[in-house]
Amino acid sequence: MIPEGEYYSRIETMSYKELEEIQLRKVKAIVRYAYDNSPFYRRRWRAAGITPDDINTIDEFRRRIPVYTKDDLRREMAGGDVDSLMGTRPPVSLYSLTSGTTGVNTVLALNYEFMDSIVEDLFMRQFWMARLRPGMSAFQVLAGWHFLGLTTNMVFSRMGVRAIIPRGTSIHDHVGDFVDALIARRPEYFVGMPWMVDAMVQEGIRRGLDPRELFRGVRYLHLAGEPVTPGLRRALMDETGVEDVFNAGGTADGIWGSSDCSAHGGIHAWMDVNLLEVVDPRTGEPLEYGERGRWISTLLIPGGPTVVRYLGDDLVRVEREKCECGRTHYSVQMYDRLENSFQMGGKYLTPYDVSLVLEEVCGHRQFTVLNPESSGGVIRLLIARRGHADECTGMSDEIDGAFRRRFGVGAEVRWVDARELPFSYRKLIRVYRETEGGEAA
C-alpha cells in the first residue's frame, strides 16, 4: 500500500520510548536467531561464554556481545559455507557483494523473504523520503552484484517506477552511454554517485551541452558512494538545475543505511531496523550520540544475513534528536573511511572536513590530500581548478588562513587540472599516500 503523505510509515515519527521498546524486543530476538542459525555467531559467542538468555537489556547487549570486523568475515567466508554462515534461511536466491574497496569483496547470501522485508522496512522509506514517487522514471546503472542496486530495483518494482538503464556499468568508459540515455529518455529521478554526475557534466560540455540542458527533466539526484557536503549539494543544484540532491549512505557489510531528508541534517537510519553504536576509533570505548567515532551496526531483521555488532570502517557522527522534518530515528553524518582519515593538531580529520573549509573560501572543489602523515604539520592539498579562469587559484593564502582558524594547522595548496588528480579504478583518491603506489600530480 503506497501512502500519500510526507511519511511512508507512521513509525518514522514514533517516540523514542516506543522505538527503544521495539529495539530491545528485536535485539533479543535477533541474538537468539543468530545463535540458533549462524555458525559464525554461535562459535564466537560460545567461546565468550554467552547464550541468548544472558542478554536482557541493551546495556548487556553492548557489554557482552563481542564485535567483529570485515577481516573476521573474510576469514570465515574463505573456509565456510557462504549460504549458512551468517544465518540466511534457505532457499538462497541471490548473492550480493560489498564493493571491495578495502580488499577482497565479502558475500551476502540473500533470500526473497528477507529482501522483501528490508525493502519494505528500510528502502521504501528511504526513497519515499528522497521524493521518489509512483509513476516516475528513474535513471540507474545496473549492478547485479551490489546490495543497494538490487534493493533499488525492488523499490522501483514495488513503487511503480520505470527504470532507465544504460548499458555497461558505472565506470568512466560508459559515461557517454549514460549521457545518451539521459538525453534520449529524460528521467525525472537520478540514482548514482557524485562522480558520475560530474563526469556526465564534463561529457555534456564536450558535446556542447549546458549541464542544465543535459539534466533537463531530472528533478532529484539520489547520490551514494561518497558524502555530499553542503557545498557539493549547492554546486550540483546550481549546475544541473535539479530541485534537490539527496545523500544516501550506509554499508552492505553492516546492512544499514538510508538517505537524508529535505532538511539535509544527516542520513536517517531507522531505529526499528538497525541499532547503531559509536565507539572511539583508538580505544573502542563507547561514545555518546553526537561524538565522532566508528559505527557498530546490528540489523534487527531476521532471516537474511545476520549482522550483530559489526564494527565498521567509517568515521561517523550519530545524532538522536528529532529532525525538523518531523522524523525521530538516527541522523548519521558519514565522514569517510577510517583509512581516509588522518590526525592533525590532535584531531581525526577526513576529506569531509577539508571540503567544509574549502567551501567556506571557494565553494566546492575537487581535491586530494597528499601524504598527511609526513607533511610536516601542514595539510598539503592538490585542488582542481574549475575552468580556465578560476578566481580561487589566487586565494591560497585565504585557504591557509581558514585551515589555521578551524584546525590550528595550515594548508599548502597546489592548483592542478582535474585530470591531474589521482584516480583509482572508480573514484577520486581523496587521501593519497605514497605507499599506495601510482603517481600524484
Binding site: S93, L142, G144, W145, N153, R162, A181
Partner: protein, 223 residues
C-alpha cells in the same frame, strides 16, 4: 508489484549507436520464460548456483531474477530455484570472477564470449577445469559464427551458448554439434533468403529482425 513498473534498457545498434527497449511486465516475463527454457536445457536445476560474468543490463542477465529488472514478477532463476551472482562484465574484473568461481563453486558459469580469454589467462589453465562442481559453461554471443570463442570441450562439463539478438528480444541455445533451439511459442520466425528472421510474440517489435542463423524451410542451423 506495481503494474506501472518497468525497465527501459539501452542497447547498441549494429552501427554502435544507442537504441532503447521498452520492457514492461509482459516483455520481461517473455524474456524470463525464454531464458528459463535455455537454462533448463543447459542443465540448471533447483538448488544449483549460477555465476554470471556479463553486464547486468544485458538481456540474458536482466531476466534472471526479479531483483535485477524493475517490473519483472519472476525471473528465470526464481522459477527454476537456482541462485545467482552477477559480476560486472569487464575484462579487468577477471580476478574477481576467478575468486568467486572458487568460493561459490557454481554448477554453471554464464560468460560473455569475449571475456573467456581474460578469465582463462587469470586462471592460468582452462576455465572449465576450475572446479569439479562446474557442470555447464554457457557462453553468450551475438555472433552465431563463433559461439564458443574457441573454447575446447572438457570431459564432464557441458558446453552451451546463448545466441542473442537484442532488437528482437531473441535468445536461442546453441550446442557444440551445431544443434540450435529456441521457443516456437515465444518467437515467430520465417526463413527468407537463407537467413532466419524472428520477432517475439510477447512484445511489440516493429517487424521481423534478421539473424545470422542460416535456415532452409524449418531447418535452422548456426551460421
Amino acid at each position: 508489484m506495481s503494474d506501472r513498473a518497468g525497465t527501459v534498457v539501452q542497447i547498441a545498434r549494429p552501427d554502435g549507436s544507442a537504441a532503447y527497449l521498452e520492457l514492461g511486465a509482459g516483455e520481461l516475463a517473455g524474456l524470463a520464460s525464454a531464458l528459463e527454457g535455455i537454462l533448463r536445457s543447459a542443465g540448471l536445476e533447483k538448488g544449483h548456483r549460477l555465476l554470471v560474468y556479463d553486464f547486468s543490463a544485458a538481456i540474458n542477465v536482466l531476466p534472471l531474477t526479479r531483483a535485477y529488472a524493475p517490473g519483472l514478477q519472476e525471473g528465470a532463476c526464481d522459477s527454476i530455484g537456482c541462485s545467482v551472482l552477477s559480476l560486472d562484465g569487464l575484462a579487468a574484473l577477471a580476478p574477481r570472477t576467478a575468486f568467486f568461481l572458487s568460493l561459490l563453486r557454481p554448477e554453471a558459469l554464464m560468460i560473455r564470449g569475449d571475456l573467456l580469454p581474460p578469465l582463462r589467462a587469470r586462471l592460468g589453465r582452462d576455465v572449465l577445469a576450475v572446479d569439479p562442481n562446474l557442470r555447464s559453461l554457457i557462453t553468450v554471443t551475438s555472433d552465431a559464427s563463433d559461439p564458443f570463442g574457441g573454447t575446447g570441450g572438457i570431459e564432464g562439463v557441458a558446453m552451451y551458448s546463448i545466441y542473442r539478438v537484442d532488437a528482437a528480444l531473441f535468445m536461442a541455445l546453441m550446442r557444440p554439434d551445431g544443434r540450435l533451439s529456441y521457443s516456437r511459442d515465444l518467437y515467430e520466425s520465417r526463413c527468407s533468403g537463407g537467413r532466419l528472421s524472428v520477432r517475439p510474440s510477447f512484445a511489440r517489435v516493429p517487424g521481423f529482425v534478421e539473424t545470422s542463423l542460416r535456415c532452409a524451410g524449418r531447418e535452422v542451423v548456426a551460421a
